[in-house]
């Protein structure tokens, strides 16, 4: 059962992780992957020039590792991969990649859904975005609590 959890301070290309992760699990039935990027361009995201993700080294990576273990225990997986950026990112850059490999698709899809809800709402990241040259902290959202509550 493979677990691969990383914090990256530099830009990454999702393809560099998805292929090797898939190949590491011969006999699998399916791989589900979610890649989140810095959103831009429309509505409340218009005018975003950059996003910064801050973390706290003694807690952020250990928290992600515990989340991966929880997903492995909860779903019928062959492996899970969680990659998360830190630092300053521009619109269109990948922030997060979660892949789950399983013999059957349901476990893989649900594990990705579960991990994303918890990464977004329950992990030790603080974000700020730059608009008009000024940084603004992003506050928690009510929706995040609803997302977590889905998992009981």
């Amino acid at each position: 059962m493979a677990r691969d959890v990383r914090l990256l301070a530099e830009p990454f290309n999702p393809g560099q992780f998805i292929g090797p992760f898939t190949n590491a699990h011969p006999g699998l039935g399916g791989v589900c992957t979610f890649v989140g990027e810095v959103r831009g361009g429309e509505g409340q995201d218009a005018g975003v020039e950059a996003l910064e993700l801050l973390h706290y080294a003694p807690m952020t990576l250990p928290g992600m590792e515990a989340l991966a273990d929880e997903a492995l225990a909860r779903f019928d997986l062959m492996g899970i991969q969680i990659i998360h950026r830190t630092g300053v990112m521009r619109v269109g850059e990948p922030i997060v990649l979660v892949s789950a490999a399983a013999r059957h698709r349901r476990g893989a899809i649900d594990a990705v859904d579960f991990a994303m809800d918890h990464l977004k709402s329950d992990s030790w990241f603080w974000k700020r975005e730059k608009r008009g040259g000024t940084w603004h902290w992003i506050e928690p959202r009510e929706q995040d609590h609803a997302d977590i509550a889905r998992w009981g």
Partner: protein
């Protein structure tokens, strides 16, 4: 190197503090922390949405804070939303 207690400010608390961390004398308990953080920083520390960790371990009860020489006390505001 100092062997006091290092207080680390995360997220917007670092803006409030004007620095990412500061050293205070050991030992440090809850009252000592509040004394070391006057004004809005102390208010933030008291706020129920601010968590405190010692050496990476969350405190269930902030008032039970007991940090000694070389310990790192982190003030953790709520994480940002998705």
């Amino acid at each position: 190197m100092s062997r006091g207690v290092r207080i680390v400010f995360l997220g917007k608390l670092a803006d409030l503090a004007g620095e990412e961390a500061r050293e205070v004398d050991a030992p440090l308990d809850w009252q000592g922390l509040l004394d070391a953080l006057p004004g809005p920083l102390g208010e933030a520390a008291r706020g129920e949405r601010t968590r405190i960790a010692v050496n990476g371990a969350l405190l269930a009860d902030k008032a039970a804070l007991q940090a000694g020489e070389g310990d790192e006390v982190a003030l953790l505001p709520p994480v940002s939303g998705g």
